[in-house]
Symmetry: C2
Subunit: 207 residues, 2 copies
DNA sequence: GTCTATAAATGGATAGAC
DNA sequence: GTCTATCCATTTATAGAC
């Protein structure tokens, strides 16, 4: 019994560490955060930290893996309830753009890119959890639309990339470089509509 | 005379510092590089470092400003010798994509993004020196083509972004995340052609 | 498992001789 | 302007009591 309580206490502590360390790492990057800071913030003592994680690197990797997988939320549902391809693409585009420009997403991208030299495995984990998912969903959707004769998509993979990146435009890069805040919702809608229209026209969609 | 020699010696040293520090910072990021490392690598003593630059931050900013401006090379010439819009866009796209995927460019993007939280001014400098230039060139070109009646471009700015980002596709992000090396030249050409064709068709270009 | 206290190394930055 | 030598704060990581 006492064992059980201790164990769950320990698990709680571990979760607390991962949560707090995640905040700090994502906000400041790997090198700018010390184990002392993390220990103080949790709060927990440093030996406890090292009891749960063998090193700062291990803690970082554990934390980032959790955060990346938490990104994996879904775009499938945005495909449903379709009232036509234009509306559907606008809905996907807008959902995607607002997600990718959210402060949490930008902060995570920033850290992942900045540390990708030191933690190559994490780049792959992040890419598979995030960008890769939407791409897969888009490819399936475009294939289906092609089959149904709505648009012509000879290369669904390349076209999926085109759509996604037209929607992103420069907004993501500007946010990553801290050059500008994300655009207002109205501007975002304009960007998405513009991209969708070029995309559809470019793929032989007849209004 | 002796003064002159000393001065040019000093300037040489300063240049040497900026060059070596640049290599190290771009490869490893701000926090992962110590002043000791830089001093040893140049080689120069630490007090000399601090004689030229008041702090590590100052050195970093000086270095990055130089590197950013070195990126500012040009796309104007790729517009010339035009044999038609399709050929021109392919030439621009290919030039741009190969440039943006070059190891130097990727490394610089990585560091700028990773440190943009701590050095906000630098993000702006980088953006103005790099991405912003191509955008300006593209906008002018698209306006001219619209005026000439070759294509219809109601919103040149948004369309410029669309073109640039279709060409980039996911290749840049994958490289930034260290997920994959840049695509081979043949694949790159395919990506660019695909993007150009969608772009032209999407803007009412008649073959 | 968790803590207090501390070891061992490295970080940025400087004093003073030349 | 440049160097040798060094200061002091902070870093990661651990030893030993409870």
């Amino acid at each position: 019994m006492a064992e059980k309580r201790n164990r769950s206490l320990s698990v709680e502590k571990r979760d607390g560490i991962i949560a707090k360390a995640g905040e700090l790492f994502i906000k400041n990057g790997f090198h700018a955060v010390s184990m002392d800071q993390i220990a103080t913030a949790v709060p927990v003592s440093k030996p406890t930290l090292y009891n749960h994680f063998a090193s700062k690197e291990e803690l970082y990797k554990a934390v980032m893996e959790v955060r990346c997988n938490a990104l994996a939320d879904i775009f499938e549902e945005t495909l449903k309830g379709g009232t036509g391809i234009r509306t559907t693409l606008i809905r996907i585009g807008d959902h995607f753009l607002s997600r990718v420009l959210s402060p949490e997403s930008i902060a995570l991208y920033r850290v992942m890119i900045g540390e990708s030299g030191n933690f190559p495995e994490l780049g792959r984990i992040f890419y598979d959890a995030g960008p890769s998912r939407l791409r897969a969903v888009m490819i399936d959707y475009l294939k289906a639309q092609d089959k149904a004769g709505v648009i012509k998509v000879p290369d669904p993979e390349l076209s999926a990339f085109c759509f996604i990146n037209m929607v992103k435009g420069d907004a993501q890069m500007r946010a990553l470089l801290n050059v500008a805040k994300g655009p207002a919702a109205s501007v975002r809608a304009k960007i998405v509509e513009h991209a969708v229209d070029i995309f559809l026209k470019g793929h032989g969609f007849k209004v």
